[in-house]
Amino acid sequence: MVIKKSADFIRIIIRRPHAYEFKRRFPGSPIPGVVILSVDGKLLDSLVLPSKNSISALLDRLSKNARKKKRL
């Protein structure tokens, strides 16, 4: 998966109990966590994440690591 900055995603938050229905539709979704969907609704990747406050830092870190790997 190509890691992008958080601003490159359409971002939606889904909380319990709606999250259980989301998980039913997308098996394997972590609760709590983050899921990346393609434009045609395929689950591309997921990550367990204890707090929504960690998302921005996580994506920025992953984005930097991806760019570093490209330069090597």
Binding site: K4, S6, D8, F9, I10, R11, I12, I13, I14, R15, R16, P17, H18, A19, Y20, E21, F22, K23, S29, P30, I31, P32, G33, V34, V35, I36, L37, S38, V39, D40, G41, L44, L49, S51, K52, N53, I55, S56, A57, L59
Partner: protein, 179 residues
């Protein structure tokens, strides 16, 4: 019974005075523009859920309004303490976070349908509420590092459609309610 504080959903940062050059621009404080509706809510009690016949699945649907701020969008829409808010737009409400998320992802000026249960005899009705605009002078302390575009499962379809139009991926944050 838990009570949530009056919430202010911060949506957008707007820095004023950009038309002038840095040299001639007087020092101005950055401001943040946010959305708000002006209510405090709490979870319904088990007794309220029973007597009001609130929808119940994994959790009880609905938030009881504790307080409505004066001259707020909620007050202007006729919402009152004691009303039970079941839905905001197409979003079912199960926590104060659901309300906060919805407002934070709604632009000021947007008019939404609010499904409310109230009164004696009990009735359910739809009320039109226009999301209000609130300006915060301390922008730096209020600007979040990460903001959401949509909230709740009901808006997933809209999020997917926009992603298709703009050729972007969709990031879904799945969390519990914090209030």
């Amino acid at each position: 019974m838990r009570t949530a504080q009056v919430f202010l959903g911060v949506v957008v940062l707007a820095v004023v005075g950009l038309a002038q050059s840095p040299a001639e621009r007087p020092k101005q404080k950055a401001e943040a523009v946010g959305s708000w509706i002006g209510i405090k809510t709490r979870y319904p009690t088990a007794e309220e859920a029973r007597t009001l016949a609130l929808p119940k699945g994994v959790r009880i649907q609905g938030q009881v309004i504790n307080e409505v701020a004066k001259a707020s969008p909620a007050a202007n829409a006729g919402l009152k303490a004691g009303d039970i808010v079941l839905k905001l737009g197409e979003n079912d409400l199960y926590s104060f976070d659901d309300i906060s998320d919805f407002v934070a992802t709604s632009r000021p000026g947007r008019t939404v349908k609010v499904c409310v249960r109230r009164g004696k005899p009990l009735k359910e009705e739809d009320v039109a509420l226009t999301i209000g605009k609130r300006v915060f002078s301390d922008a730096e302390s209020r600007t979040p590092s990460f903001t959401w575009d949509y909230a709740s499962l009901a808006q997933l379809k809209a999020a997917m459609e926009r992603a298709k139009t703009e050729s972007r991926l969709v990031l879904v944050g799945i969390f519990g309610a914090e209030t």
